[in-house]
């Protein structure tokens, strides 16, 4: 579905990402992890097509992303940015913006089908009860769910998310990631998400891409990437990795200075 070859890109003359190579198959749930400033968000922006590449190609379904018509791309790929600006639209109007890529030329109003799709997306994300409220007034967790509902309205095949759980309490962290997992498993949506929290990443993703200083450090299943050697190498801190007894996924314990003896 997605193929990235020899990608180098960055802002102005600084290269934030170098020699990135990986492939994403349809139906995968991929987590991009790494320390602050390692280039996670930059990689996501490059895939979404808003960042010009210095070198290399990103092929989406076999086509070079900059060559794909923007509207067509938006029908296949949806992006949930981290903390994007919102306006005073109601939640329902906001979710309906996700239908814009499906509008015909000279179409100004949503069809009945558009309204149904929006309603389904809001039902799926549990945001129907917010429909009449202005987006700028709802809480951070609700906003994240509304953003996902908008993305679903685009009926994408690939969903990109930038730290969907940042600043959320654990209730909403689990709610958001459970939802994304469900979309991935039941609807076959391919997911690429940047995650800051290694434990959440290990718990939910099928494959992790660990970035360090703008390069790929390791790619693989959570069990292979989240080992104490790898983490200590990249994050320069001491950790202890155990297994979550319920999910059999790796779980990382931090070791404070006092405990390192």
């Amino acid at each position: 579905m997605l193929q990235i070859r020899d990608l180098t890109c960055g802002y102005d003359s600084r290269f934030l990402l170098q020699d990135i190579n990986f492939k994403v198959a349809a139906g995968e749930f991929i987590g991009i992890v790494g320390p602050n400033g390692s280039g996670k968000t930059t990689l996501l922006r490059a895939i979404s097509g808003v960042l010009k590449l210095k070198k290399g190609v990103i092929l989406f379904e076999g086509k070079d992303i900059p060559r794909i018509n923007q509207k067509e791309l938006a029908r296949k790929m949806a992006v949930v940015s981290q903390n994007p600006p919102v306006n005073s639209l109601t939640t329902e109007e906001f979710v309906l913006l996700g239908r814009i890529p499906h509008f015909q030329r000279l179409q100004f109003l949503e069809s009945k089908q558009d309204l149904e799709i929006a309603e389904r997306a809001m039902a799926l994300t549990g945001t129907l009860k917010l429909r009449g409220r202005p987006v700028e007034e709802i809480s951070g967790g609700e906003k994240q769910l509304v953003l996902i509902a908008r993305a679903l309205c685009q009926e994408p095949r690939l969903l990109l998310l930038d730290e969907p759980t940042a600043h959320l309490d654990i209730t909403h962290q689990v709610a958001v990631l459970d939802l994304i997992k469900k979309l991935n498993k039941e609807f076959g949506l391919t997911v690429i998400t940047v995650l800051h929290d290694l434990n959440l990443a290990g718990e939910y993703c099928d494959k992790l891409i660990l970035l360090n200083n703008g390069r790929i450090h390791k790619v693989g299943a959570p069990g292979d990437v989240l080992t104490y050697q790898v983490i200590e190498d990249v994050y320069k801190t001491v950790v202890l990795v155990k297994e979550n007894p319920i999910s059999r996924r790796p779980y990382i314990f931090l070791v404070p200075q006092e405990g390192r003896k």
């Binding site: 802002y11 923007q70 994007p84 306006n87 005073s88 109007e93 913006l97 814009i100």
Partner: protein, 334 residues
């Protein structure tokens, strides 16, 4: 039919009716009061009376012009507010009107309109407007992100610069030009040239139609450029065309009526609180509401100290400035 669309239609019809009522009221009101019955009989009887000429040569053109300019300024306000994501920006507060005024002023001083026709006035207004709008955009953009804090300040400063250059032009211009500039700069709907009135109506209505092609892009742009791109909007193209449209509308308004401030601020502000922020209804209803508002203000300007007359810019300035301060105060609280 969808409930929302029904609501929109009701709003548009309501505003259309209000426009009609206000226009008739404005025809009646003035230093020579005329009841509706008399107006109808005057129109049926035809020319030759003094009252007929007051009605059709003085009051009617002002109403038509109020419709065109009130609509154009409000439309420009909605477009700019959508693009800059700030409810306080409009042609006047961003200094675009000032730029347009400078363009027109240059034209008057250089007497270009005498050689190349009166239509060079709106053209120069447009050129002045687009220079300011581009300056504001490029001065406030950093790494592809529009800085919101400096926006209004830049606008106010550009306004100062333009008005200072206008003063400079006035200081060195001939006495007969000077009177024209002063009269025009205060902002008035009195325009003896029918050609300009016709152009104003045609361009502003065309502007409204064109703006609808970008109503969805404007909705998406209100989330910022990057989000709009994620929604499949060609932001570069939309931005360029919307800048041009806002400049055309402002340049036209300023060249015909002088600087009439704050219409693009007050009208969308109140309309938005009734119909919401969806540009598909906001554009059309703001146009109509702006037309109503300016015709009403002009009627006020004509009658308040009749037979003398106030410049309409004074009235919109007092009303608009108050609304601006009110909105600003409310914004910092929340």
């Amino acid at each position: 039919m969808n409930k929302k669309i029904l609501y929109w239609i009701v709003w548009m019809l309501g505003l259309g009716a209000a426009l009609l009522v206000i226009s008739v009221f404005s025809l009646c009101a003035g230093s020579v009061g005329m009841p509706i019955k008399k107006i109808i009989s005057l129109i049926l009887e035809g020319k030759s009376s003094a009252e007929y000429s007051i009605l059709l040569d003085i009051r009617l053109p002002r109403i038509i012009l109020g419709f065109a300019i009130g609509g154009a300024l409000s439309l420009a306000g909605v477009i700019l507010q959508g693009m800059f994501r700030n409810p306080l920006v409009e042609p006047y507060t961003l200094g675009i009107s000032g730029g347009a005024a400078l363009g027109v002023c240059l034209n008057i001083v250089l007497r270009l309109h005498r050689f190349w026709g009166v239509l060079t006035l709106p053209l120069f207004g447009f050129l002045g407007a687009i220079v300011v709008i581009s300056l504001i955009y490029f001065l406030n953009i950093r790494k592809g992100i529009l800085k919101m804090q400096g926006l209004l300040l830049t606008g106010v400063m550009l306004s100062f610069i333009s008005s200072s250059i206008i003063m400079l032009l006035m200081a060195v211009s001939r006495t007969e030009d000077l009177q024209g500039i002063i009269f025009w700069i205060m902002g008035s709907l009195e325009e003896p040239n029918w050609l300009l009135i016709k152009v104003a109506v045609i361009v502003s209505v065309l502007g409204l139609i064109v703006s609808y092609f970008f109503s969805l892009s404007l909705n998406a742009l209100s989330l910022g450029e990057e989000e709009a791109r994620h929604l499949g909007v060609n932001t570069e193209k939309a931005k360029r065309l919307l800048f041009i449209l806002a400049s055309v509308l402002t340049g036209l308004s300023v060249s015909v009526c002088g600087v009439i401030g704050f219409v693009g601020l007050i009208v969308p502000h109140f309309v938005r609180s009734f119909v919401g922020s969806d540009n598909r209804i906001l554009l059309g209803s703001s146009f109509l509401a702006g037309a109503c508002f300016l015709i009403l203000c002009d009627t006020l300007a004509r009658t308040i100290i009749a037979p003398l007359e106030l410049p309409v810019g004074v009235i919109t300035g007092i009303l608009g400035g108050s609304v601006f301060v009110y909105v600003l105060a409310k914004k910092t609280v929340s």
